[in-house]
Each structure stands twice: as C-alpha cells, then as structure tokens.
Subunit: 232 residues, 4 copies
C-alpha cells in the first residue's frame, strides 16, 4: 500500500540527519496522498540508522492507523490537523533544529531580514500562542495542530506562502507541496533563524526588509512570473 | 571479569567523540554491576583512538581497583560517590562539552525552556555550589561527588527525573539506568544548554515553561503512561 | 567553446559546498575571458551534486547567452555589470554564507580588526545602500551590480584592494584575478565576519587596526614587495 | 638532515586542519633540536594537501635557512625569538583559529574560568600590547616575538606554565616541550576562548576561578605530584 510514497517519505526522513537538523530520533516527515485521504509517517522513536522504508506507517485523515506494525510518530495528530486544514500541502516536517527551537523558546518571530528569507518565505514566520493547560492536558498533539491553524487564520497568513511556523516553547513545523520542499523549508527556516539571531544581536534596530524586496525575491522564485531555476 | 560490561562501557566511551561532546581525552563513562558492587570505568588519559575494551578498569564501591593494569579515570572517586548515593543509576558520564561547561563556568542553571528539555529532564538542571578550598585540597574528586549529592538532596531533586548536573567552574555529569541513556543525557544536556544560551540572549525575560508542559512532555516519554516510541 | 574556462568555473563552483559557504543551490561563480569578452557562469538553481562542467553557460558582456542550453544564474546581470565596471577582475563569486549575510542584513560593515583581515583585504569591506523600490522593481540584478559599483566609486575604494562587498539586506559578492582567488575571498570574508562578530560582542569600543598594520600585512602578501609564500 | 624532526614537524602541521584550527595555509608549526641549535618549520604559504615532510625548512637560531629549497614560514623570525628567549620550549604553533583571534582582536585576556583551563594553563593567558608603528615597519616578525617575551617578563608569567599568548590584533601563539603538546595547546586555547566567550556573555560578573582550584587541576596533571593519566 502506497509503496512509492513510503519510499519517498523514508528518503525525506533520512535527509534530516544529513542536513544537520535532527538529533537522535527527534524529527519526523510525513507525506500525503490527498486522493486516497491517507498519509505516510515515520514510526515513533526509531533510530535513523535502523529505519527502513517498510517501517513507515499509513494513517487516515481521522488519525487511524491503516497499515503498519509500529506506532506512528507521537506527533501524528498534529500532522493530521494540518493536512485537513491547510488544503494545499502534501508533506509536513517537524524537527527540534537548534536555531529554530531557540526562537520558539524565546517567543521571537522570524522576520524577513534579507533575500535568503524572501527567496523562500513570503513574510514573517509566526510564533503560536503557548497552549493552555487544558489544551496540553487533553488531546495535546491535536491542539498543537489547532494552535498552528488558528495562528495562520487569525493573522491572515497564507500557509502556502509562509510554509513554516514556530510552536511556542516547542519548535518548528514546516510543510510544502512535496516532501522534498517541506524538508528544504525545515533547513531554510533553521538557517534564517541563525542569520536573524546574529543580525539582531549586531543591530538592535529595525532590520525588516521592505515589502517590495519581499515581492521581488519571492516572486522571482515562485508563481507565474518566476525566472529562477531551469523550470521557470 | 565483567567482560560484557567492559565491552558496553568501551562502546559508550567511544560514543562521546562521535557525538561531538569530547575533546582529546577529556571524558569518561562508567557502568555499574550493582549486584556485584563493581563498576567498570575508562582508564585515565588514554586517547580514544587507542582505547580497547580490555583497557577498562574494574573498581569496587570503596574505590579500590579490582582488576586492570591501567590507572582508572582521575574522576573515579566522583563516580563511586554517585553510585553509592543515587541508588537508581547504573551508568555515569563526565565530559567537558562546550555549552554545558560555559553554563557551569557562569554558574547559570539550565532551566526548562521548551519541550526538548521537558522530553528528557523533568525540571531545572542545577549548578552545584563551588567547592571550598578545603574540599579541593583534600579528597577533591570525592568531594565533587558529595557536592552533587548535597545539591540534589538540599533542593529535593530526584536524580532519576533530572539525571544531570553542572559542577560549578568545572562541567557536566550525567547518569542513567543504562550506559546508552547516560550518554544520551550528556548530549541532550549540551544541546539544551546551546538552545537556552540563544533563547536567553534573544529574550532576557522569563522563558521557563509551565509545570503542566513539563508534565506532559516528560510523562509522554517516561513512566507508566508513556506513549512515545515503540515500547510504550 | 571556452572548455578550459568551463572546467575551471565548474571546479570553482564545486569548492563552495566544500568550504561550507553554500546551502542548497544558493551560490554561483563565474569566470571571464576578457580577450573574448565572454564569461562562463553556473546555470540557475541546479544542485551541486548534479552539476557538470558542460552545464556552464557562456554569456557575453551585454548579457546575452552565447552558448548553453540551461538558464544562467539569476544573478548573471550583476556579474556582467561588475566585469564591465571593474576592469581588473576575472572571476566573481556570490554566496549566502551565514556570517556575511548576517552583517549584510544588519547593515554593519566589516572593519579590519586584525591581521587575518589585513592579509586579504586592504581596508573596510563596505555595505551598499539598500536598493530603492524603483531599482528593485525594474532591472533588479543589474541595479545590484550598479549599487556595488557606486559604493566603491563614491567612497574611493579600489576593488582590486578590497575584493568584496556586502549588498544590504542580501549578502556578499567577492571577486579576484582568478576563480580560485575569488572563491578564497568568499571564504575569508565569511571568516572575518565571524571573528568580527565575536570581537564586537566582547568589546564594544573601537577595535579597528591602524593603517600601518593594514599596510604591513596586506603588502607582505600582495604587490611588488610581497614576501609571503613561495612566489614572492 | 634532521629527517626525524622533519617528519614530526610535518605530522604536527597536518594536525592543524584535522583539529579544525586552521583555514587555507594560515598556520605553522616548528620543532627545535636544541642541541644542534636548529629548528624545522613549515614552508610559507603551501597548501596542507600538498605539503610533504621533505618540504620542511631547517633554520638556525640566527634565522638563517640551513637547508631547504622553499621559503620558510613568514613567521620564522617570531619562532626564532621565542626559542632563544624561552629556554624550556621545543615546539611552537601559530594559527588564526577563530575564537582565539576574536579575543586577540578584542584585546580581552583568557582568564581561567574553569577546570578545562586549569588542566592546561596555570593562569591567565595574556594579550600583548599592540606593536607600535616603528615595530611594525621594521623587523616586524622579530618584534612580534619580542612583544611576546616582554609580556611574559613584565608580568612575571612562566612560559612553561602558561604556554600560550594572544598577540593583539593578530592571533595566538602556543608552545610546549614537544610538537604534540604545542599543537594540543593551540586547540585547548581555542576551546577555552570559546567557552569563556559564552560564559562572559551569560554572566557579566567575575567568573575567574580561585587560585586553589587552579593549583589543584593544574598540578594533578603537571609536575612531580601529577596523578592524571598513565605515566603519573
């Protein structure tokens, strides 16, 4: 079942240690077959060195395991909520990459301070509100998804244009149209956090770029008039 | 004698350079056979590249070398005290990993600022008092163990729930039920120190997580109701 | 056409990931054959692992593609302007290396604070003005070249002596007489930015070196009286 | 001539990139045969990948090249002065390692803030005065050696107990009884600089360790009563 997607999700998971954004087992990638309403996700707590494509778990959009002998990632319910609520996305990545987590712990947003950001994210990467005690004590992982959705809705942010969030006191989630793109976004998020940290400690004033720079760089890589790369 | 434990302790020692938390010979792992009252520890000052399983030294809980031709780690008496006083632990790790040492030198505790911490440590990782001149000049390594024990007792911290400490002006010790877990704790400690450093320099206000978040994350990975991983 | 230069430019591009100053496809090196008035540049958005010497694109100094089936780097017009305006240079490098970008985002120049800088750059590495909305919305990449040229002309900086610039809110461009030298300058720029960051956060006062130190170190490596290395 | 020492000095030089404390060709190690009054040093500006034992240059203590076809390191005169003035040392290392250079640029000493320092350096690692214009313009490299010697003499520091210095606006020199020890000191210096940077930015107050801690840790590894390692 979904053997091709399992292979793809397996390979995307294996990119995380290769890109230096995961320690031990603390990361997971899932990929969605939107037609079938099923997604494939890494099993919980398995070491990357021992992971095999056939270990991937198939889950439906109600959160039920449909195939697989292992427990799915403990963050499965968060993925499920995001797939249901963000209609354009087919892959999700969660890591504890160190720069992104540092901003999530500090509750500091990742503002666009340069073209590296603008090439990849069309605006500020938001930090969610902290979950309440009630939200944590019951259906915690689902509520993590809900607070992400609420953050984007209440602030009018398009998850296709800003495919990343920092969950307060926790860490980053990123997504994309493909597993490859979602993993790239996880790496870029950590890099722009690193650059912003140094920018902000060098220069305490406003270092946000103007909207027209954001437009130029984002739109030369994305959308109808993109001219970056070979497929533009 | 204890050949299996020697192999295990050897392998755990070799993980330290692989995880990037040791420089030159500055780290040591020991493992305890509590039934026999003996522990196995790395010899003092031997380069990791030259280390062999048969070089491990067997020591009893009075601190006497029972088997082995090499001098045991200079920190052997610290390990001995911790094994005697912390009844639930079977492995100890000491390193000079750079983020943890930086906090130990600054005398700044590692507060729980996010779920990475809460997944692994059930509360603040304390810094000991500095040893007095008398404690340093006589039975120094034993007194290092004693100040750790005193720190946990006086503050009512359970060493099974917070398996890590920073010895002021020195560096980290971690422990666990197994050598593997103790080594993991040494790596996680360094990572949370790194993340806290950046969190604290981004945001000078209070960034400690609430108790209910600590409960949720720690208890979803540890204890009777854990549901993270495959054995939960 | 220009097969030797293509091979050289290919190899110079492959140095960027090896030196740790590029992520994904975010960097490009070009090399100029000044006699023929043609330069060779990396294609846009191609992964380094898949890049081949024959993928390099040949462009003339009016910015027209003369040979090659792929789109040239999106920064081609910036390279073109620099080749036209800076007569002594035969190679250009652009990266998003993290320390240099942090300074470009902060708008903080790289002052000469020590001999590492003085060995390679004969004075302050400037930051350009931010491009205006009009400059960004039309002929953006060409205007990026123009703002670099304007920065050097208006401040009387010799691009042969200071072969590096930070484009505000964007990142570094470096150049040189050879592709090898231009790539080295890209790496050194990132290193001096890293060192300056720490110098400036340790010591907020003036840490710029005097002119005579700059003279000594720069001139012992460059020019008629150089005595560093084997060819001096 | 001195083939064994050439091999040893070659291997010591090759340790610098392996330990991550050198970029490009910016480092050099020399070793002295004190009986013969000759030292062996790396040639100037040769890439580590191309370096061979037979490339090492033999120099006498008046600074004359005695054997070798290549130019010796441009820092040869600095090494010569240190060998003449510091009688107990047989090897010298110079690098531009990034943490040590940052402190040298800032003019901030490396105080002993913990046992990592105390294990290796018996007190503060000093920063020299900046060289004057006259000292830089004539016999610069020799004057670099002289300012190091003056720093140790005027402050009563024993170069055998503190085998490291930061030359202001330049970078570190370390030394030792053997090439291996001098290279180790270069690595430890960079590590303690890194740790001190973070300690100092976490905790602006006094974080220097007391003399009795310095005594304990330094003397358990060095001198007649040392008990660390296998030869103690």
């Amino acid at each position: 079942m979904l053997e091709e997607l399992k292979q793809e999700v397996y390979e995307a998971n294996m990119m995380l240690p290769k890109l230096g954004i995961v320690t031990f087992t603390w990361g997971n990638v899932s990929g969605l077959d939107r037609d079938k309403g099923l997604f494939v996700i890494k099993p919980s707590g398995v070491e990357y060195e021992k992971l095999r494509p056939e270990d991937m778990v198939v889950v439906d959009l109600d959160g039920n395991v449909v195939e697989g002998t292992m427990n799915p990632s403990s963050d499965t319910q968060t993925h499920r909520v995001l797939y249901r609520e963000f209609s354009g996305i087919n892959a999700i990545v969660h890591t504890h990459s160190s720069w992104a987590v540092s901003f999530a712990q500090a509750g500091v947003e990742i503002e666009a301070m340069g073209t590296t950001h603008a090439d990849n994210f069309y605006g500020t990467i938001p930090v969610t509100e902290a979950l309440t005690q009630a939200e944590i004590e019951s259906a915690y992982e689902e509520n993590t998804g809900q607070v992400i959705v609420r953050t984007f809705r209440s602030r009018g942010i398009d998850p296709a244009a800003v495919p990343a969030v920092l969950v307060k006191q926790h860490g980053p989630f990123t997504w994309g149209a493909t597993t490859k793109k979602a993993v790239e976004n996880a790496k870029v998020l950590d890099l722009v956090a690193e650059m912003n940290y140094r920018t902000m400690t060098l220069q305490r004033g406003n270092t946000r770029v103007p909207q027209y720079l954001l437009d130029k760089h984002y739109l030369r890589k994305h959308g109808a008039n993109a001219y970056y790369g070979q497929n533009a």
